[in-house]
């Protein structure tokens, strides 16, 4: 059987189709949001939120609730707090993220261990699972994808202004807080959905890698946006196919694929500067 036929065979599994739809949409959303988060020095928020998501899901499972129903509101609140806390409080942003993420992870583990009778494999939440996506999550993901793409096209210019110079944007009368709230809600939902495939420990790479790779080779904001979407989608597909063909863990393979692209882009950027 040729490789082509094997790849086509991938699509015959319905769970694979769901994973492809959800994964590509999450990659797209994460890469768009990632450009803003990386440039605003909020990259680690993705990591922190995924840990909070893990804690919330574990607690939800212990009380026999659907994981997403518990996780999404909790993570949205956490995102809101983290973005606010990092500005106003005496505990600085990076320390605050460290505190919140490890606490959430610990609480999740403790509650899960205490609740008798659960035999859910928390490992699949840690490193993700391609089998985890059900139909309702796919629908949610499609809606999210449409909202994120729409928001980034319609609000492209204010988003640029806020990312580049928040004070100037505020001085011209822009309601910066509203935009930041929208961004944090979208980030939260993207992470909760994405962590089902990528896992708690690896989802933040979807946010950070594509933006950084794109910034190696292009220096215009619009180009960075477009480029990071392309890189993110490309890495998702190559990672997914490679993991299917070589029977490797999906999330980890996608991250490795992102890493390869990042290295190539860094070298390409260096050559470009010298030329």
């Amino acid at each position: 059987m040729s490789i082509f036929e094997e790849i086509m065979g991938m699509f015959s599994y319905s769970f694979m189709v769901r994973a492809i739809v959800v994964g590509s949409l999450v990659s797209l959303c994460a890469s768009l949001l990632g450009v803003v988060l990386v440039l605003k020095r909020y990259s680690m928020i993705g990591d922190g939120l995924s840990h909070v998501g893990f804690g919330a899901m574990a607690v939800g499972l212990a009380f026999n609730q659907a994981p997403l129903i518990v996780a999404i509101p909790v993570v949205i609140i956490a995102a809101f707090l983290l973005l606010r806390v990092s500005e106003n409080s005496k505990i600085k942003g990076d320390a605050a993220i460290g505190l919140i993420s490890s606490s959430a992870l610990a609480i999740g583990m403790v509650v899960n261990a205490m609740s008798s009778g659960t035999n859910i494999d928390l490992n699949s939440y840690m490193f993700g699972s391609i089998l985890a996506i059900d139909k309702s999550e796919m629908v949610l993901c499609i809606i999210l994808g449409i909202i994120v793409i729409g928001a980034f096209i319609y609000f492209y210019n204010p988003i640029f202004a806020i990312t580049f110079d928040e004070n100037f944007a505020r001085a011209t009368g822009l309601k910066v807080e509203i935009y930041k709230t929208i961004l944090s809600v979208l980030t939260a939902v993207t992470i909760v959905i994405g962590m089902r495939i990528m896992g708690t420990l690896l989802i933040s790479s979807l946010i950070i890698f594509p933006a950084l790779s794109a910034m190696r080779v292009t220096h215009k904001f619009k180009h960075v946006m477009i480029m990071s979407v392309i890189i993110s989608m490309f890495c998702f597909f190559t990672g997914l196919v490679a993991s299917y063909l070589l029977e490797l863990p999906t999330g980890a393979t996608i991250v490795v694929s992102n890493l390869c692209v990042f290295i190539i882009m860094t070298i390409a950027g260096r050559i470009k500067v010298k030329a």
């Binding site: 492209y156 640029f160 580049f164 110079d165 004070n167 001085a171 220096h219 215009k220």
Partner: protein, 282 residues
């Protein structure tokens, strides 16, 4: 014709007033320099005027076609912008954000405005360059062009020459002065550079510690030295003209007061030249 009136404004961070009961009036075409030591609330005052921080008391009133929506603002250099991937043109165009309103994209007119302002500041040749690759002086020109896209009335600058070399600093002052004189744009600038503040501006706001301040025309300031005590704040205009010229303080002496000129007046805490000589008995 007043463009900006600050009425008894106070700004506080965690209960401590950094600006207390300050009142100033800025006329159309004024060039106001705000000077003073660190921690006297210069930047806070600007942020209060721009609405970036909440006022504890008082009012900021705009008039003469000026409003918070059409002030250009040039903030202190932001370390985050060091590796920001944006072209010069993208940065300048973002100054048109307000006039764009709810439309998703910029109109032809706004794009033209951005180009015109780039030309005015001699940066049109670099419009495709990456903002992060520019020199400090060029960056400030770009930000000035962005501010011009936001206003044709008033520009507020927060330490625009910090970190620039002497040539770029002189260039920056020259440019701002040109905007003020040629285009009639009102300038409010925070600066530590007293020489240039006195050279170009027509009004001085000198913020002192303990929330005292001097605000008035540059000519009076040169005599008062920014002293806010009663002994000195008495009527300068009554002094004979020649005496004024003789007693005029050079900018060098003025830098927060020469150390050797302690005031003789026991009630006066000030450190300035004129006060030393007349001891408050003017």
């Amino acid at each position: 014709m007043s463009q900006l009136i600050c009425k008894n404004i106070s700004i506080a961070y965690e209960k401590e007033n950094v600006v207390d009961n300050l009142s100033i009036t800025v006329e159309k075409g004024d060039y106001v320099s705000i000077i003073g030591e660190n921690g006297t609330g210069k930047s806070s005052l600007l942020k209060g005027i721009l609405g970036l921080v909440a006022l504890k008391n008082g009012q900021v009133i705009f008039d003469e076609g000026c409003s918070r929506k059409n002030i250009g603002y040039l903030s202190q250099q932001n370390p985050m912008q060091k590796d920001f991937p944006a072209s010069v043109y993208e940065v300048v165009l973002s100054g048109c954000l307000k006039s764009k309103g709810l439309r998703p994209f910029y109109s032809k007119r706004e794009k033209q405005l951005a180009m015109e302002n780039l030309k005015k500041l001699g940066m049109d040749g670099l419009k495709k360059s990456c903002y992060a690759d520019l020199s400090g002086g060029q960056k400030q020109r770009v930000l000035l062009a962005r501010a011009l896209c936001a206003t044709d009335r008033m520009i507020i600058l927060d330490e625009p020459v910090t970190g620039l070399d002497p040539v770029a600093t002189a260039d920056m002052y020259h440019l701002v002065n040109k905007l003020n004189k040629d285009l009639g744009i009102t300038i409010i600038m925070v600066t530590h550079d007293i020489d240039n503040a006195l050279k170009y501006s027509n009004k001085i706001l000198h913020l002192h510690k303990k929330n005292k301040y001097y605000y008035g025309p540059k000519e009076d300031y040169l005599i008062h030295g920014g002293c806010t005590e009663d002994c000195c704040a008495s009527d300068v205009s009554e002094l004979p003209k020649t005496a004024l010229d003789e007693e005029r303080i050079t900018p060098e002496e003025l830098k927060y007061g020469p150390a050797d000129s302690e005031c003789n007046n026991p009630t006066c805490q000030c450190h300035h030249h004129m006060c030393n000589k007349s001891g408050g008995d003017r």
